[in-house]
């Protein structure tokens, strides 16, 4: 550099710093434009999110309330014995109930007449419910018992504005005159809208009883399935990724495996369902409709997602960290587990939560292993049974409801979606808390 000849260069014209030159202006304009695009994109995204949320909440919230008839009912021992002696026992209970209701209305000075058929249209077969209760609780005989009986789905719909007087055509399900009765009962405070606990905690009901349908049992089913997915796919996925990323030699064979894993992530979920049916149920004879099998199938589906994200986050750990560890004499395994893995953990958790969320919302594979339809009859009676007892899962339950004829099942489906989202958000929240933990370790 010493022999470089220096020729005098004319100094460039002075430009004031306070005034932007055309190039700078152009660049600034481009930057501004880009920012506007970004804001617009976010606004569009937010708009659709809000529309989605509002429509879900609006359609789903009614599922959490239920029109109930609240009556204090006293059954004496003589009445009980008398009813049990009859041929049509529930009919006897029914007539007792009607009498009580009539009495109640007269006491309040309300003068509406109704017949047995009307009560049956409004409340369904109350006799059976009453008989069941007193047979199970004979000690309650002779004392006033407060019953909250859920009204039929049409009456419930009338309360929620789904059924209107104008649109109602008299049928064997509901008649105009019944609505007069309902109005009177509502004025008297005998019929009112109450929180439908049964929807949150109960199990699915039959097609003809939408009022009694609950999602609780399938929430439990989903929970056990997620346990299986988490405890299978996370360790297997992370172990596989660590091996592939840190230990495996780079050759044709590992390239092939890599391509296959990426492809596996794109396989339609129903294919995994068929596989599960063939392998887990037909070949291995695992119980049908069980969360265990559902979990196994979903774990297979989640594995590629976890492997891909884990490998990406392992790759993102700077190689200098590995060198530093090896340099002080750590083995490869120590370097990975003491230094690389903790740094990759936030990324791994993100991948896991995406995989789990996908698995949670998956319906198609569950169709094939029999986790849809009227299977979520009740709660499993223990931890192990939770894995092996036939159960449904939330999305499958929602699918079942959406496919049923009665409109109030449709409302339940929306309500189910709210519960599904709440479950998902809880899961995400746990993952975020865990990730914070790891991030705080630098």
């Amino acid at each position: 550099m010493t022999d470089a000849t220096i020729t005098p260069v004319p100094s460039p014209p002075k430009t004031p710093l306070t005034e932007a030159d055309p190039r700078t202006k152009k660049r600034n304009a481009a930057e501004k434009r880009f920012q506007y695009y970004g804001i617009a994109a976010i606004a569009v995204g937010l708009f659709f999110l809000i529309v989605l949320m509002v429509s879900i909440v609006r359609s789903g919230l009614p599922a959490f309330t239920q029109a109930v008839v609240s009556v204090d009912f006293t059954l004496t021992e003589e009445q009980y014995d008398e009813a049990e002696a009859q041929l049509f026992k529930t009919a006897a209970y029914q007539s007792y109930f009607n009498a009580v209701l009539r009495e109640e209305l007269r006491e309040r000075g309300l003068d509406v007449d109704f017949d047995e058929a009307a009560i049956e249209r409004i409340l369904g077969k109350t006799g059976g419910t009453l008989r069941e209760f007193f047979r199970a609780n004979e000690d309650q005989l002779g004392q006033p018992v407060s019953f909250e009986l859920s009204a039929s789905s049409r009456v419930d719909g009338y309360f929620k504005g789904r059924v209107t007087r104008e649109a109602l055509q008299d049928s064997r399900f509901l008649q105009q005159s019944d609505l007069d009765l309902v109005d009177a009962l509502a004025d008297a405070g005998i019929v009112f809208s109450a929180l439908n606990w049964n929807f949150i905690t109960g199990a699915d009901s039959g097609v003809d009883n939408p009022g009694g349908a609950g999602i609780g049992a399938s929430v439990v089913g989903s929970f056990f399935m997620m346990l299986v997915v988490l405890f299978l796919s996370l360790p297997i996925g992370v172990a596989a990724s660590i091996y592939l990323e840190e230990f495996a030699p780079q050759n044709k064979f590992t390239d092939l495996i890599e391509v296959n894993i990426s492809n596996l992530a794109a396989v339609p979920s129903i294919v995994f369902g068929i596989l599960g049916l063939a392998v887990f149920i037909q070949f291995m004879h695992l119980p049908q409709s069980a969360p265990l099998v559902g979990g196994l199938v979903l774990a297979l589906m989640t594995l590629p997602t976890i492997i891909i994200s884990t490998r990406a986050s392992l790759k993102a750990v700077p190689p200098s960290i590995r060198e530093a560890a090896l340099g002080v004499g750590a083995s490869k395994m120590q370097a990975v587990f003491h230094h690389v893995l903790p740094l990759a953990m936030p990324g791994i958790l993100t991948g896991t939560i995406i995989g789990l969320a996908q698995a949670l919302g998956e319906t198609a594979p569950l169709l094939l292993i029999g986790m849809v339809g009227f299977v979520a009859r009740g709660y499993p009676d223990g931890f192990v049974a939770g894995f092996t007892d036939p159960n449904s899962a939330m999305p499958a339950q929602i699918y079942t409801w959406a496919a049923r004829a009665d409109v109030s099942f449709y409302e339940k489906a929306w309500g189910g979606i709210i519960i599904l989202l709440v479950f998902l958000l809880t899961m995400n929240a746990i993952a975020i808390i865990l990730r914070r933990r790891f991030e705080r370790r630098w």
């Binding site: 960290i321 530093a324 002080v328 750590a330 003491h338 370790r441």
Partner: protein, 265 residues
């Protein structure tokens, strides 16, 4: 570079700690080290000098098999540590690296606390029996790394939060904590101010009493100050290797002379 004070040192024959014979390194098709043979003495400081990209780091990394981690790197030839071939199939590189420590060119502290950075090596090698002993090792190492005073009150803070020069000294402390027999230092002072540099050079001088130190440096003065032997690399060749005093006062190769007088580089 006329102002260099080069002291004629008495030549004492020392044991050879690391003997490299006909070492060739390839990165894929790039021939990075060409047939290098060199004997690194025990209880002495050897300096590797040479222009950027000439293979100093590459050769240094061969000495503790750090190049094993680079897939495309291929090493030929023989490197012996105390007469044992370190590239022998039976040699566990992990065991080798405990004996041959390394300070990297770019400071690379663990994203953990300063304490854990230094304590990690002793921990995995079981050099301390209890917390008190470990504390002692950590303090001693940080003192030797000339960083104790700056970090003694913040040992639980992340090592990555230190300044570049502090990080480098932390890495030096981390490397000496495991008491290696050979310490390889790749430009340890490139990010340090003159005071810290002097402290590190003091450390190197001190380490020399017991260990063999190899240092890569771009500072001729530093090479002249701390080393007994100097190797000059150029484009993958070991051009000249000998007594530091001899190389700096009386280089045999014209390329060496041009380099140390600042004409190539």
């Amino acid at each position: 570079m006329d102002d260099q004070r080069i002291i004629e040192r008495t030549t004492v024959m020392k044991d050879i700690k690391i003997a490299a014979t006909n070492v060739n390194v390839f990165y894929g098709d790039t021939h990075a080290i060409k047939d290098v043979s060199v004997g690194i003495e025990d209880k002495a400081v050897t300096a590797f000098i040479g222009p950027s990209g000439c293979g100093k780091s590459t050769f240094l990394r061969c000495l503790n098999r750090m190049n094993d981690t680079i897939d495309i790197a291929r090493i030929e030839g023989k490197i012996e540590l105390d007469g044992e071939d370190i590239y022998d199939k039976r040699v566990d590189p992990v065991q080798l690296r405990a004996k041959v420590g390394m300070v990297f060119q770019k400071p690379n502290p663990f994203p953990k606390s300063i304490y854990d950075n230094v304590a990690y090596g002793p921990r995995i090698h079981g050099l301390s029996r209890n917390k008190a002993e470990l504390d002692e090792i950590v303090e001693k190492s940080l003192r030797r790394g000339a960083i104790w005073n700056e970090v003694k009150d913040r040992l639980d803070q992340p090592g990555t939060g230190l300044s570049g020069g502090q990080q480098q000294r932390l890495c030096i402390a981390r490397a000496v904590a495991t008491e290696p027999e050979v310490l390889l230092m790749d430009e340890p002072c490139s990010a340090l101010d003159p005071i810290a540099t002097a402290q590190i050079e003091e450390l190197i001088d001190d380490l020399k009493q017991r260990y063999s130190v190899v240092i890569v440096t771009h500072s001729m003065q530093q090479a002249a100050r701390v080393s007994q032997k100097t190797a000059f690399f150029h484009l993958g060749d070991l051009v000249e290797y000998g007594e530091t005093g001899h190389i700096f006062t009386n280089p045999e190769d014209s390329r060496t002379e041009s380099y140390i007088t600042g004409r190539i580089g």
